[in-house]
């Protein structure tokens, strides 16, 4: 799966995981390298909800170091996609 395809799926997963989908809609259009916290309230509940959804959707187990790498400096779609691809063994 290409990075662009993973990013596309992440956009949907994030909007679905958000308690207020209207507030998360901006994620459908934001650049992939922008911290998610700048475009929507990307709280810990939403962040961990996304991790649970990602594990389920991509059949991976997100480790603590992988999560720390993806979240340091603010999680972006690009960083989350890279995390998924690394954990799938694609990179």
């Amino acid at each position: 799966m290409t990075t662009a395809a993973v990013v596309g799926q992440l956009r949907t997963l994030i909007v679905t995981a958000a308690p207020d989908p209207a507030l998360a809609e901006a994620v459908r259009r934001c650049p992939a390298d922008v911290p998610l916290d700048t475009v929507m309230p990307f709280s810990s509940v939403i962040a961990l909800g996304v991790i649970v959804a990602v594990e389920d959707r991509f059949d991976i187990v997100v480790t603590r170091p992988a999560m720390q790498t993806a979240f340091t400096g603010g999680a972006t779609l690009e960083k989350l996609a890279a995390m998924i691809q690394r954990l799938q063994g694609n990179t």
Binding site: V39, P41, V45, L48, V52, R64, Q68, F71
Partner: protein, 193 residues
Amino acid sequence: MKVRADDLSAVPGDPGLLRVAERRELLALRFRGLRREEWIRGRVAIRRAVARWLPRASRCRVHTEPSGAPLVVGVDCTVSLSHDGRWFAVALAPGRALRVGVDLCRRVHAGRLAPILRRFIKRGVQLDPVVQWAALECVLKMRGLGIAALMGSDAKVRRAGRRVWVEGIGPGASLCVIDRPEFVVVWGSEEPQ
């Protein structure tokens, strides 16, 4: 220690109310839309809390630490801020001797919290998941820890009345809790270890 929980719309979201340094931080953070407005209201809410609870204090501003935690500059106090949807909570302790933490969690999250707790906490769901989550978040904030600290933790959370105890994320913590129809607020303070 004082705590206030309220509707975020009770606080103005006018960027003109920010101090110069706060405005600079806002520009650097590049927040957009509602997230930007939420951040502004949070800063104003903290300064209002300082003015209300420390009425003789001088003019202050709120600095945002790299972790995102607010730090009051110009008045000797420690604060913590939490917002969720249209609600916010601010906690304040005079002086710098204590670390404080507050977390407000809406009940609308209950359904998504149970799988999160089962996945990340060895003991899974131990009580009302909203209370459990707010208690865990409160401890993380009080200690400046990120959410990764929860992964695989053996955190034990129990409640009796308006107190909640958290063990397993460093030293045990005794916290206060209030339940409202729409949300739960948990707060606490401790001396730095």
